[in-house]
Symmetry: C3
Subunit: 347 residues, 3 copies
Amino acid sequence: MQFTAHELGLMLNGTVEGDPLVPVNQLAKIEEARAGSLSFLANPKYEQYLYTTEASVVIINNDQVLAEPVKSTLIRVPNAYSAITVLLEKYNTLKLHKTGIEQPSFIHPSATVGENVYVGAFAYIGPNVKVGNNCKIYPGCYIADDVILGDNVTLFPGVKIYFDCILGNNVIIHSGTIIGADGFGFAPAGDGTYAKISQIGNVIIEDDVEIGSNTTVDRATMGSTIIRKGVKLDNLIQIAHNVEIGSNTVVAAQTGISGSTKLGENCIIGGQVGIVGHITLAKGTQVQAQSGVSRTLKEEGKRWMGSPAFAYNDHMRSQIVFSRLPALEKRIDELEKIIKELTKDVH
Amino acid sequence: MQFTAHELGLMLNGTVEGDPLVPVNQLAKIEEARAGSLSFLANPKYEQYLYTTEASVVIINNDQVLAEPVKSTLIRVPNAYSAITVLLEKYNTLKLHKTGIEQPSFIHPSATVGENVYVGAFAYIGPNVKVGNNCKIYPGCYIADDVILGDNVTLFPGVKIYFDCILGNNVIIHSGTIIGADGFGFAPAGDGTYAKISQIGNVIIEDDVEIGSNTTVDRATMGSTIIRKGVKLDNLIQIAHNVEIGSNTVVAAQTGISGSTKLGENCIIGGQVGIVGHITLAKGTQVQAQSGVSRTLKEEGKRWMGSPAFAYNDHMRSQIVFSRLPALEKRIDELEKIIKELTKDVH
Amino acid sequence: MQFTAHELGLMLNGTVEGDPLVPVNQLAKIEEARAGSLSFLANPKYEQYLYTTEASVVIINNDQVLAEPVKSTLIRVPNAYSAITVLLEKYNTLKLHKTGIEQPSFIHPSATVGENVYVGAFAYIGPNVKVGNNCKIYPGCYIADDVILGDNVTLFPGVKIYFDCILGNNVIIHSGTIIGADGFGFAPAGDGTYAKISQIGNVIIEDDVEIGSNTTVDRATMGSTIIRKGVKLDNLIQIAHNVEIGSNTVVAAQTGISGSTKLGENCIIGGQVGIVGHITLAKGTQVQAQSGVSRTLKEEGKRWMGSPAFAYNDHMRSQIVFSRLPALEKRIDELEKIIKELTKDVH
C-alpha cells in the first residue's frame, strides 16, 4: 500500500511542507527510517533525528520550530502522536478489511453465519456452528460441530476449534492456535499401559480475549476450561483441561498451566512459567519469567520467582548468594581449619 | 446435541423420577451444574450438592436415599459412575462420528484408502500414501508421499505428516502437530555459515500412541525417530531427530528431547523438562517438571529433579537450604567475626 | 521409492559385487540395517558390522579388504562417504521435487508468481503477493497481502505468513510456523483492562534462513522484526516483536526471545532459553540450554548459564556447591556449636 504526502495530509487534516507527491509505503522510527518511509516526531528528545533522517515524510507538531534544514517532506498537525495513532489504526483496518465468502470454502448447511462476515478460502464451518456478525474467519480455519462464535470475532489463518466450544464477542485468535483439543487424561491400566479418559467438556472464551499464535487451550474433561473476559495470552502457551483464567490476566509466551488450576483476575504471568495442576493463584499475582509455581498462592498482588517459586525479593537475595557459593564454601573450609587449630590449642 | 431425561433413562436402562421431558445439553460437575446440565452423584462425599444443584438431571445409584427434597429430575441406575462412563463414551463417539469423503479434498490417484474412512474437506493425501481402515483424516490434514497409516488412525484438523513416515494402528494425533519435519542438522562451513545436512530418515509411530496439539516430532537424519507402542505425548512437545521413546512412556506439555536420546519404557516426564542429546534414560525414570537432564540415567525407576537434574530427594533438600542462603551467609559472617575476636584473644 | 543394487551402481559409477537385482527402499546405519536397507561403510572402526549386517546393499571403498564373508550385495566406489552424501542429496531432491499448480488452490489475480514454482492444493496466495522463481508453496500454506518471497523459497505445509512480510532467497520454513502475527502489545487502560496496540510493522527474513516447525515470529509494532542472513531457528521458538537476530546465529528448540532484543552474529543459543526484552547479546555469545538471560551481554564470544545467567564456569561451580548445600549447612551448625563451646571456655 502506498500513499503520497498529499494524501496523508488530507487524511490527517495537516499542512504539507515540501514535495506533496513523494510516496511512502511503510512506517518507521525516525532514527531508522529510509527513503519511502513515513515517520513522526512527537518526543522533543528525538529532534536531532529530524535533521538527519532518511524518511520521505515526517509528521510533526504544528509548533515544531526547525533549527536546521530538513530533507523530508513535513506534515504539520496539532498533535503528531495522536495523528500517528489514528494512521496506525486506519492502516491496520485497511489491511485487515476482508469481507465476503471466498471459494472454495466449506460451510455446512446447518451452520448459521451472521452479517458482514468474511470466510476465507479453505475455511471449514461445521454442522450447527453459529457465527455472529462481523466475524472474520481467515483461510484454513476449522470450526467443528456446534461451536458458537459471538460478534466481531477474528480467527486468523489456520485456527482450529474443536466441537462444542463457545467464544464471546471481540475475541481475536492468531494463526495456528488450537482451541478445545482433548485434555491429557489417561488412567493407568495396571499392566503398564494407559486407558484414555474421554474428554467431553468444552472451552469457553469470554469477550475481549486475545490469544497469540500456536497456543493450545485444551477442552475440559467435563465442564469447561474458561478464559475470562479481557484475558491476553501470548504465543505457544499451554492451557490444560479445566483451567480457569481470571479476567484481564496477561500471560507471556511459552508458559504452561496444568490441569484444573485457577488464576485470579489481573494476574501477570511471565514467559516460560510453569504452574502445577489443582492450585489457585490469588488476584493480582505476578510471576517472574521461567518460574515454577508448585502451590496455591493466597495473598493478592504478590510477586513470585524461582522454581519452585517463593517471594520475589527473597529469591533475588538467595540468587545473589548462589553466585557466591564457591566462595562461601571456601570460607567454611577456612573456618574449620582455624577451629581445628584453635581447639588443638585450647584442649 | 440435546437429550431428555426420558431418552437418557432409556439409554442407561434407568428409572426416571421427576419431569421426563426436561432437556439437557451438557454434562457438568454436580457442584457447578446449571439448568440444562446433566450431572451425577457417585461419591457419597458430594451428597450435599444433590439438594442444592441447579442440574436439570442427576444420575444417582439405585440405593441412594434422599435426605432432603431434590429439584432435579433423577435417573436411578445400579451404578452411577459406570453409567456416566458409558454416556461419556457414547457422547464422544457421536461427536467424533465422521465418515465419507468431503469435497473438495485431494487424494492422489496412486494413494490407497481403506474402508469406512473419513477424509475431511481440504485434506491432502499424497502419492503412494496408504490409509488403513476406519481412519479419520480431518479437514486440512496433509499426508505426504509414501506415508503409511494403520487402521483406526485419527488425525485431527491440520496435522501434517512429511514423506516416508509410518503410523501404526489406533494412533491419535491432535491438531497442528507436525510429524517428520527435518531434524535440526547443520554443519559449520568454516566461514561462520552453516551447511544443511539432508534429513532423509523418517518417523515411526507404533500402535496406540496419542499425541497432543502443536507438538513436533522431527524425522531422523538417517534411520528413524521412533515413538513406541502406547506412548502418550502432550501438547507443544519437541522430539528431535533420531530420538526413541520407549513403550508406555508419558511426556507432559512443553518438554523437549534432544537428538538421538533414548527413553526407556514406562518413564514419566513432567512438563517443560529439557533432555540433552545422545543420552539414555532407564526404564521407569521419573523427571520432575522444569528439570534439565544432562547425562545418562542408568538406574531404573528413579526420580530426578533440577537443572541439571540430580536425585529428587537430594534436590528437595538443597532447594530448602537455597531459600535460606542469605541467612546462611550471615551465620558465616558472624562466625568469622567471632573467630577473629577469638584468635585475637588467643594469640 | 525403491532401487536395485544395479541402479545404485549406475548412479554412483560403482562396481556391484553380489546380486545386482536386490532391492532397497531405505537407508540405515550398518549396525541397525535390516533386509531392504542400503547402508555404507566409511569408517574402518565399524568394519566388524560389515560381516554381520542385515543390509541388502552396502557401499564400501574400492580398497576395502574383506576379512570374512559378506551376505550383503556390495557396491565399491572410490569414497563411500562422498557417495552416500551424493545419494542423500539425490534422494532428498527426488522426494522434494514438486512442481506445477495443484487444484484447488487460491492465487489472487493481483499476485505474481515466478517460473518453475510449486503451489500445492489448498495453498492461498493473497493480493499483490510476489513469489520468486523456483519457490515451493506446499499445501495449506497462507501468504497474506503484499508479502514478497525471493527465489528458491520453500514453505512446507501449513506455513502462515501475515501481510507485508518479506522473505529473501533460499529461505526454508517448516510446517506450522507462523510469520508476522501481531506482537504481544497491550496498554493498561487504567481500569484493569488492556487496550490493544496496533502492530503494523512486519517481519523481514533474509537469505539462507531456515526455520523449523511450529515456531512463531511476531511482526514489529512499527518497523521490522529481522532475521538476518543464514540464521537457523529450530522448532517451537518464540521470536517477539522488533527482535533482531544477527547473521548465522543458531537457536535451538523452545527458546523464547522477548520484544526488541538484539542478538549479534554467530551466537549459539541452547534449547528452552529465555531472553528478556530490550537487551543486546554480543557477537558469538553462547547460552546453555534452559538459561535465562536478563541483561545485556557485551563481551563477545562468551558462554553463559543459569537463570538468571552468569558466566558458564562460575555457574558450574555454584551448581556443584548447590548439590552439597545440606552438608554445608550442617558444617555451619557444627562450627556454631564448637564456637559456642569455645567461647564458653574462653570467657
